[in-house]
């Protein structure tokens, strides 16, 4: 659905996006991760036809954004960063305007507006000027605008920014409910969001793609992957019992009565560890296997020096 081919963007001496390529198929939810200024928004602006690329091409549904901008824009629903909207309009007038721009009219337009309002739960604020709305309502109105015409491609720049936990949950549910029928790209800083809704994650740093895999694979890069976290009243006995096991790496005390037993090279160590603990007669109150932490992997990949320090 989306094909990005050697896309680059420079602003004077600054290279914001540096030769990136990836495809997004229908049914995929791609999480676009990266530190601020990594080039996430710039890439999205190029896919949606707001910024022309310095080199490379972006295609949506086979249409080149530069040659056929209108064809691309018809097929894309876009929530720009910060959800900009005309402050003096009401949400009702705003959505009616978007419907007209999208060539929807009559009962079709009304039905789609009603659906978008229901999905984003905007019905209470329809007649309030946009500049009096809270951040959460504005963001949801931006989403309603993006999905109004039921596009094949959705590009959402930080869709949950500024929302409270309940609203975040609702937006994620909304994205998940649309996942099967569309190609969706979302950018976010929130790593749990990637685990919650994305089928694939791309990490971008300094304008380049540094990782492109499923969130689970990404988490598996963590040194904690397959490690065992346990709570015990006899930490010394536990340490003695497990540290000599062949597949066990680092063993760290993590404050209070918690101990983390790292797995060497991500090997599965839970059976070995639990057998050793039973043998040593250690008192263990809780034991869990970790999948790895996305935030650690993210830091490691995007900022290697600092992650080790």
């Amino acid at each position: 659905m989306i094909e990005i081919d050697h896309l680059s963007k420079t602003f004077g001496p600054i290279t914001a996006v540096d030769d990136i390529s990836f495809n997004v198929a229908k049914g995929e939810v791609l999480g676009f991760l990266g530190p601020n200024g990594a080039g996430k928004s710039t890439t999205m602006k190029m896919i949606t036809g707001f910024l022309p690329p310095t080199s490379g091409t972006a295609r949506v549904a086979g249409y080149d954004v530069r040659r056929n901008p209108i064809a691309v824009k018809r097929r894309v629903g876009y929530l720009p960063e910060g959800a900009p909207m005309w402050p003096d309009m009401t949400p009702a007038a705003f959505l009616a305007f978007i419907a007209r721009v999208r060539n929807l009219s009559g009962s079709d337009a009304e039905a789609r507006i009603a659906t978008a309002i229901r999905r984003t739960q905007l019905s209470d604020v329809l007649q309030q000027p946009i500049d009096t709305l809270s951040k959460g309502f504005k963001r949801r109105l931006g989403l309603a605008q993006a999905l109004l015409h039921d596009p094949e491609v959705l590009i959402l720049d930080e869709p949950t920014d500024g929302l409270d936990p309940n609203q975040k949950h609702e937006v994620r549910e909304l994205i998940r409910s649309m996942a099967g029928t569309k190609a969706i790209v979302i950018s976010t800083h929130i790593l749990e969001e990637v685990e919650a809704v994305c089928s694939r994650a791309i990490i971008i740093a300094n304008g380049r793609i540094v990782a492109d895999e499923t969130p689970a694979d990404l988490a598996a890069r963590s040194w904690r992957h397959n490690g065992v976290s346990l709570r015990t009243r006899t930490p010394d006995r536990v340490k003695a019992a497990v540290s000599s096991l062949p597949d066990v790496g680092k063993v760290v005390a993590e404050g209070g009565d918690r101990i983390f037993v790292g797995a060497r090279n991500g090997a599965s160590i839970i059976t070995q560890v639990s057998a050793a603990l039973r043998e040593a007669d250690a008192e263990v109150e809780q034991i869990t296997v970790e999948q790895g932490r996305l935030d650690e992997v993210f830091r490691e990949i995007t900022n290697p020096q600092q992650a080790h320090a």
């Binding site: 707001f50 894309v76 005309w86």
Partner: protein, 244 residues
């Protein structure tokens, strides 16, 4: 056409959703009254025409039109709504024309609301209503020219104050270009043909005939060309802005 009309409607609604429309219309009408009756000595002239009314329009528009046009693009750039506009299935040209026509129609409304002065001359005397109609037409054309200039300038900056000052300056140059003050100032640089050329580009040159009721096709073409030129520049400026 549908797209231009959609933009037109959105823009027009936004004038009346904010105090912009009301403040503009009230100030426009009040200044028109002051200029016509006090500065223009409407009554002392003792003539049933609206020359005293129209002759101040270039100077009124000089700062009122930039006040209207400054927000057209600068505000969209500042608030980021330009990104929304430009990623909807619309061309830059459609948005530029839609916004311009909306602002122009709005000034037409303000101008139409000066009708009491027309009623006044018709009550007091027996004016040449054809000449008055021509005056209104010329005034509207001039407003359109200034608006196109202002719209273009507004696309160059995020700052509305800068947009206002630049537009007012450009409009002033257009008005004053052919005046004796400017020509004298330029001295030998602007003699003979150069002076004629500058005078022929001046708004005053084309407006003064129309305001007296003489509609010359050349004057209409002048304003139409002015509008087209700056709207094209406006589109180019926006597309270049995106490419930067």
């Amino acid at each position: 056409m549908h797209s231009i009309a959609t933009i037109f409607r959105r823009e027009m609604a936004s004038y009346f959703a904010t105090p912009v429309a009301y403040v503009f219309i009230v100030i426009f009408l009040a200044l028109n009254g002051v200029m016509t009756f006090y500065v223009g000595n409407f009554f002392d002239r003792n003539q049933a025409d609206l020359v005293a009314f129209f002759s101040f329009h270039p100077w009124l528009y000089l700062f009122l039109i930039p006040a209207l046009s400054m927000r057209l693009w600068a505000e969209e750039r500042r608030t980021g709504t330009i990104e929304l506009s430009m990623t909807l299935p619309l061309t830059t040209g459609q948005i530029v024309v839609g916004k311009f026509l909306s602002a122009w129609a709005f000034t037409a409304i303000a101008l139409a609301l000066t009708f009491p002065i027309w009623l006044t001359v018709n009550y007091l005397g027996d004016p040449d209503n054809g000449a008055i109609l021509a005056g209104y037409l010329g005034s509207l054309l001039m407003a359109g020219g200034f608006l196109a200039v202002g719209s273009f300038v507004s696309a160059l900056t995020k700052n509305q104050v800068i947009a206002f000052v630049l537009a007012a300056t450009l409009c002033f140059l257009l008005v004053a270009m052919g005046s004796t003050i400017v020509l004298n100032f330029l001295g030998d640089l602007a003699s003979g043909e150069v002076a004629d050329f500058l005078r022929s580009l001046s708004v005053m040159n084309h407006f003064s005939d129309i305001s007296k009721g003489v509609v010359d096709l050349r004057d209409a073409i002048y304003f139409a060309a002015l509008i087209c030129l700056f709207l094209v520049l406006n589109v180019v400026a926006l597309d270049r802005l995106k490419a930067a």
